[in-house]
């Protein structure tokens, strides 16, 4: 088992090396096959490890790969930890990752950077596996930075487009802000506990003052804010849609953005101790969920809608973490990975069919033309909207039930966020697949269903989106909430649920009724009255404009951060750089030059003068020796 665990991240690394160094010589089929197979091997290993983990007593396996840093009191081994939490993430990353690799073979078939794309994708999987398998915060940090790098490379994959490069840079810089918080948190953990290994830190977490724990928890959460796109660091994620669609599905929906959730769930003991930190997590999560959902209402780019939906769902997961429902959040990560990957890949298939068009105002009536894509996306939409017995319902309901227990206001706001989810998802569905076609004649002629390498992953993910709920079906549905019990050993301080079965049924009924009501409303607006979003901005009402422009947050950041920084840079350039530093540098040069040209006159080429000065010098030296 230990060998399997060590091998698990090695497969994608090998795939990366093959594609990075020989990619140009290999033909496309082989390079796609190598990449997909390497992730499949990891998936097989993850399944094997997962099955064996059930039979181990301790529910956790630690593998020491090598001793990494040994310096004074600092000793950091390069260790892997496979326990219920990381094994769930391993399965999601490699499983969904494999499907998306297969999908990419079809989606990227006509791209000249085919091998480069798969090299980056493999490298991403490798770093993501390191992130979740690390047994201390430093290995986690290596993975954390690595996935950030791959995200940057893949957002800017089509590097000839300046906007895409800017989006990539934005993502990188935003993430760096978060990473600084994470790094400070890790340093504080080391200073407080003298170690950064999980098994040393977590059991002793309660031995220090609550203030210290709060600082650690909040610093780590800043890291999570950056990586998982929470207010105020969320603006990079919608822009990250500049990357190819499979990247959006894998990195910016299913796996990387859930790294923040993983990290907070892993460090759950800090948040259980610190009330301040957990409330902050819940409030930020809730605010993000609502904020992003309202922006999503009026977006017209199919990928942007899904991006804001992702931000909003991540907010819900943080709400779950904040109210102590760690296992529910991980459950939602799992189901979200299924249906959001499905929706993104479906959107990719739609874009593929439309010949690159992403604006839902120019789509419509695609339902009959691309049947499989439509059916699978329909499944995904129902799953995310929270209709039982699809997977999204159970995970979202669990989070909402826990927040009801914690604070009823959280529950009400969470309900509103999930109703908004149903609205924008069905709006997208109706506008894309129903009604009449609104694009050009050339696009209509071009419409075609995607190749099997794209539709098969869609079908598999659709099946998972339907059935995924089984993993965590609550007791009142006659199941034993497997996910919850499986993750129990990882959650050090459990908050037992005290809700009566009647309350649980009522909450579920309310959630389903609300979702159905919203879907009916969406149906009325976009089907019965056939309203399509305005093509020109002047037709929008002021509140619509506000939402369409994402509350002008980007403009606000521009005015509050970028403009002052630019002004400061101008001041530094004009005064410090040009006046002070340049004067000093030029002064030194000028001084040397002028003294040089003065002294040069002494070298006049007359031997007698040289001899005289030599004799005088010698006499001077001799005199000096005698006198001193």
């Amino acid at each position: 088992m230990n060998n399997l665990i060590i091998l698990l991240p090695v497969f994608p690394l090998l795939g990366f090396l093959v594609n990075a160094f020989f990619g140009k010589k290999l033909n496309k089929q082989i390079s796609g096959l190598v990449a997909s197979l390497s992730v499949f091997c990891s998936f097989a290993a993850a399944v094997a490890v997962f099955i064996q983990l059930q039979n181990t007593e301790a529910h956790a396996v630690t593998v020491n790969v090598f001793s990494w840093i040994n310096s004074g009191s600092l000793s950091i081994p390069f260790e892997y930890l496979v326990d219920p939490l990381s094994s769930v993430f391993l399965l999601i990353i490699t499983g969904v990752g494999f499907l998306i690799h297969v999908y990419s073979i079809g989606y990227m078939a006509h791209d000249e950077g085919f091998a480069r794309f798969f090299a980056y994708l493999n490298l991403f999987v490798f770093f993501m596996l390191l992130l979740v398998m690390g047994n201390n915060y430093l290995v986690m940090f290596v993975g954390w930075e690595g996935v950030g790098l791959c995200s940057y490379l893949l957002i800017g994959f089509w590097f000839k487009n300046t906007d895409y490069n800017n989006a990539a840079r934005k993502a990188f810089v935003m993430n760096r802000i978060g990473d600084l918080g994470f790094l400070l948190g890790v340093i504080l953990i080391f200073l407080t506990y003298g170690s950064i290994s999980f098994q040393d830190v977590f059991p002793n977490a309660g031995t220090v003052s609550t203030g210290t724990v709060t600082s650690i928890a909040l610093l780590l959460f800043i890291g999570a804010m950056g990586k998982s796109a929470q207010i105020p660091l969320y603006t990079w994620l919608p822009d990250a849609m500049a990357g190819p669609t499979p990247v959006s599905a894998l990195i910016h929906a299913a796996t990387m953005v859930t790294a923040g959730i993983y990290m907070v769930a892993r460090s759950n003991v800090f948040y259980s101790i610190s009330h301040v930190a957990s409330e902050t997590v819940a409030i930020i999560g809730l605010a993000t969920a609502l904020f992003a959902a309202t922006i999503g209402l009026l977006q017209n780019d199919i990928k942007k809608i899904l991006a804001y939906s992702t931000v909003s769902q991540l907010g819900l997961m943080f709400l779950g973490l904040g109210v102590g429902a760690y296992s529910s959040s991980v459950f939602h990560v799992t189901t979200h990975a299924f249906f959001k990957a499905l929706l993104f890949l479906g959107a990719g298939s739609v874009i593929h069919a439309m010949g690159g068009e992403q604006d839902i105002r120019k789509m419509g009536g695609l339902k009959g033309k691309i049947r499989i894509t439509f059916l699978t996306m329909f499944t995904g939409t129902i799953a995310i909207s929270g209709i039982p017995p699809f997977s999204g319902f159970f995970s979202k309901d669990e989070i909402l039930a826990h927040s009801y227990e914690h604070n009823k206001v959280y529950w009400v706001l969470g309900m509103i966020a999930s109703m908004l989810t149903a609205f924008y998802m069905f709006r997208m569905l109706f506008l894309t697949f129903y009604g009449r076609f609104r694009g050009s004649a050339a696009q209509e002629h071009h419409l075609h269903e995607s190749p099997p390498s794209m539709t098969i992953p869609l079908i598999v993910l659709a099946a998972l989106s339907v059935l995924g709920g089984v993993l965590g079906m609550p007791e009142i549905w006659g199941m034993n909430n497997w996910m919850h019990h499986f993750l129990e050993p990882v959650i050090l301080r459990q908050v037992p649920s005290t809700l009566s079965h009647e309350t649980e049924w009522t909450l579920m009924a309310l959630a389903v009724t609300a979702a159905l009501a919203v879907i009916y409303l969406t149906y009325m607006i976009y089907r019965r009255y056939g309203i399509t979003p305005a093509l020109r901005e002047e037709e929008l009402k002021p509140w619509q404009k506000l939402l369409y422009h994402k509350y002008y947050v980007d403009e606000l950041y521009e005015a509050l951060v970028r403009k002052p920084l630019d002004a400061l840079a101008v001041v530094f350039h004009k005064f410090i750089d040009l006046q002070v530093i340049d004067t000093i540098v030029n002064g030194v040069g000028g001084f040397v030059k002028s003294t040089g040209s003065a002294i040069r006159l002494i070298q006049n080429g007359h031997i007698s003068l040289y001899v005289v000065s030599m004799a005088l010098g010698l006499i001077g030296i001799v005199l000096l020796t005698f006198l001193v």
Partner: protein
């Protein structure tokens, strides 16, 4: 005392010879004279070496003198060869004219 003459006499003679040589190098422009002055300085030193070698009954000073004489001879051979080349090119042996390398 060496051969009835005090060591101070040798020192003075050597100093006078050396100063004549040094001043000659500084003041004169004729390259042949410069050479002669350099020889004068070398031989002033040689005289001193031989005098002290005899005074202390240590032959190593005289060995030094042999080396200096050999080096001085070869230096003169090379120097005069250069000098004749210079004269062939400039029709002069004035050292002040040889200042083309100053820039």
């Amino acid at each position: 005392m060496i051969n009835g003459i005090s060591i101070n006499m040798y020192l003075m003679l050597s100093t006078v010879l050396f100063i004549i040589g040094a001043v000659g190098v500084m003041a004169r422009r004729n390259t042949i004279i410069l050479f002669m002055c350099i020889e004068l300085m070398l031989n002033a030193v040689n005289l001193l070496l031989v005098a002290f070698s005899t005074l202390h009954a240590d032959t190593s000073g005289q060995v030094f003198v042999f080396f200096i004489m050999a080096v001085a001879a070869s230096e003169v051979a090379v120097g005069l060869a250069i000098l004749s080349m210079v004269y062939r090119n400039t029709k002069s042996i004035d050292s002040e004219l040889l200042s083309k390398l100053k820039h």
